[in-house]
């Protein structure tokens, strides 16, 4: 078997000849655009949207290439190839993002066509990972594995991917457009803070339909989405999505970049937006957009369950260190005898979401051995092996440990989301990564982390909120104040079913004092918590005042 041959049972969508031909044409087109740029036939203003639609940014130190990982699903051959790309064209690292993608921070413009060729070898690309178009759809990292799932969202995520790829009408939208879809009643995709959030569900007859929310978002104007419809039948899914996008493309603001997201249009129009979508939907020639069950079945065949063995659930080995890891990293699977394993990319003092080429290869090997070659990227910048036999967990843990990937901190205070911040990003106004590193070092003791329990800290290096600080239990936003990096704190955000935007609690902290401030918040929580309460529970019960008093008390 060639290293680039996809594993037999990994449920990644398998390209056919047409998909491959399309990708080759797209690469040739971008190569031509780069040549025109270098020859001066395209100005930077003209080239910029073209390169962005191929995932290429110009950042603080270099170009950055963002590669699409469709709905966060990878097979081992693809992950291995990403490692090879990191080694050959980057500095040996890749950075997994909150959109379940991967970024290479040291890309050269003239290398990009070769990098895209390497991606195409494993049916991957960088299309629409930036630009004012429909971005990579995100979904539940435990899709197809989690016991609480009603509908496997992967098939619909792939349908959305094909539908949105170089969509002739929606490639020059007012602003970027992000869709998230989940098939579980427990929202793990932050559906309500997306441009469109979709909840796939079933009616009493067992038919699939979709609850559609629109107009959520973070950034400088965080808004919780509006529910447009409780039920869109499966066959009308794409028709309805078309209708939403048509109204947005026609009416979304284009003058002011900060008012151009769909959330502003939906907020301003309110129910009128819903009515406009409905009118468009009603008058569409719906046969043209109808998603026949046969199509769903044909795409669905790519996502058929792997051949699970008939096993029974079992007790984990006694090894205490292993058990500590398993208590945070191992999650129940719908199939008896199996489990899903989350791999932390948050080593104490490390860069959240970073993986070395060696680590990518190690995870690819372990996925082949233990998870049918299937890997997921999570929106909290970790990886998942979705289908692991419980009897293999100990061996897997040892393999992860050897690769430096067994930090037992999933869901704990050091499992931090951080955007690249000013260390890499041209837009950032403050650094994020070193704040994350210092917080995780401060709380390095695992006993202490377990005692604190579930606590989500998210850090953004500017108001654009790529680090999702608004929806963290403790959100940290770095801004520039007269040349100084300062950090604002928000409390009480949530990205799950009870989605909420965190509350800004008071004056910002300096680069030097922000970690102390986080520690003060934690000690305040510990002092006030009732048995069994998480940080967020205590915060909701006692409110912001005790935390404010502790932070801003006169010394």
């Amino acid at each position: 078997m060639n290293a680039l041959t996809p594993p037999q049972y990994a449920r990644t969508y398998r390209y056919d000849e047409i998909d491959r031909e399309f990708l080759q044409e797209r690469i040739a087109e971008f190569r031509g655009q780069i040549e025109r740029r270098l020859a001066g036939e395209l100005t930077e203003d003209e080239f910029k949207p073209l390169r962005l639609m191929n995932g290429l940014y110009l950042q603080l130190h270099a170009y950055m290439l963002r590669v699409a990982i469709p709905y966060g699903l990878l097979n081992s051959a693809q992950l291995r190839q990403l490692g090879r790309i990191a080694r050959r064209w980057d500095r040996g690292f890749g950075h997994f993002t909150t959109r379940q993608n991967i970024q290479f921070n040291w890309t050269k413009l003239e290398d990009v066509p070769a990098m895209l060729e390497a991606l195409a070898e494993v049916d991957m690309h960088a299309i629409q990972t930036s630009g004012n178009c429909i971005r990579n759809t995100t979904t539940d990292e435990y899709a197809g594995a989690t016991p609480d799932e009603v509908v496997d969202p992967l098939v619909y995520a792939e349908i959305l991917r094909q539908w949105s790829t170089l969509h002739p009408e929606f490639t020059w939208l007012p602003r970027k457009f992000k869709i998230a879809i989940t098939g579980s009643p427990n929202d793990r995709v932050a559906a309500q803070v997306h441009d469109v959030g979709v909840l796939a569900k079933r009616n009493e007859r067992g038919e699939v339909g979709f609850e559609v929310h629109a107009g959520g978002g973070l950034g400088r104007t965080p808004i919780i989405a509006r529910k447009l419809r409780d039920w869109v039948p499966e066959s009308e899914f794409l028709a309805y999505m078309e209708a939403v996008l048509r109204v947005y493309n026609a009416l979304g603001q284009r003058e002011n970049i900060y008012k151009a997201r769909i959330k502003i249009l939906v907020r301003d129009l309110g129910d009128e937006f819903t009515q406009m979508v409905e009118r468009e939907y009603e008058r569409m020639p719906r046969d043209r957009y109808r998603l026949d069950p046969d199509i769903v079945a044909a795409i669905g065949a790519h996502f058929a369950p792997p051949p699970f063995a008939a096993l029974e659930d079992q007790e984990l080995p006694e090894d205490p260190e292993f058990r500590a890891w398993a208590s945070t990293s191992v999650r129940a699977h719908r199939q008896p005898g199996y489990a899903s394993v989350t791999i932390s990319l948050k080593p104490i003092g490390g860069i959240p979401g970073d993986a070395s080429a060696d680590q990518m290869e190690a995870v690819a090997d372990l996925a082949e051995r233990h998870s049918f070659g299937e890997i997921r990227v999570t929106h909290v910048q970790n990886l998942v092996l979705p289908h692991v036999r419980q009897e293999d967990l100990h061996a897997l843990w040892q393999g992860l440990r050897a690769a430096g990937l067994a930090t037992p901190n999933i869901g704990l205070i050091s499992d931090i989301i951080a955007c690249p911040g000013m260390d890499y990003c041209a837009l950032a106004t403050a650094r994020s990564i070193p704040i994350a590193q210092r917080i995780s070092e401060r709380f390095a003791s695992l006993d202490r982390q377990h005692d604190i329990g579930e606590c989500f800290i998210n850090i953004s290096g500017c108001i654009n909120a790529c680090g999702h600080h608004h929806v963290a239990h403790i959100g940290i936003l770095g801004v520039d104040k007269r040349g100084e990096e300062v950090y604002q704190v928000t409390l009480g955000g949530s990205a799950t079913n009870d989605a909420a935007i965190g509350e800004l609690i008071g004056p910002a902290f300096s680069y030097d004092t922000i970690v102390d401030a986080v520690e003060t918040l934690i000690t305040t929580y510990i002092a006030h918590r009732s048995p069994g309460e998480r940080f967020i529970d205590t915060y909701r019960r006692i409110g912001v005042t005790p935390f404010k008093d502790a932070l801003y008390a006169p010394a």
Partner: protein, 100 residues
């Protein structure tokens, strides 16, 4: 970003920075009139020469050599940018892993 240089007259000596078009690497431009990889290899423009310096630096964009020219105020000893963001641009990321 390049409009910033015009918006406010420079009060300190300035150099210009941009990214090289072909590979994106950060480059610096001073009174020598050439784009250099290292800020240490260039001499800053006096504040009253900043406007003229910008016009020279912009030629690099027209020649398809560089992208995103903007002015950076510096302490002439070094020179060292006054703002932290541009000091990061000189040093590279402040975080360890990828600097190796």
């Amino acid at each position: 970003m390049s409009t910033k240089a015009k918006a406010r007259p420079a009060t300190a000596p300035v150099v210009f920075t941009a990214n090289r078009l072909r590979d994106g690497r950060v480059v610096w431009f001073g009174t020598e009139g050439l784009w250099r990889d290292s800020i240490a290899e260039i001499a800053p423009f006096a504040p009253d020469a900043a406007e003229a310096g910008l016009a020279l630096a912009r030629q690099g964009e027209r020649d398809q050599n560089v992208v995103g020219v903007y002015a950076v105020e510096v302490d002439p000893a070094g020179p060292i940018p006054l703002k932290f963001r541009e000091r990061l641009r000189v040093q590279g990321p402040s975080v360890a892993a990828e600097a190796a």
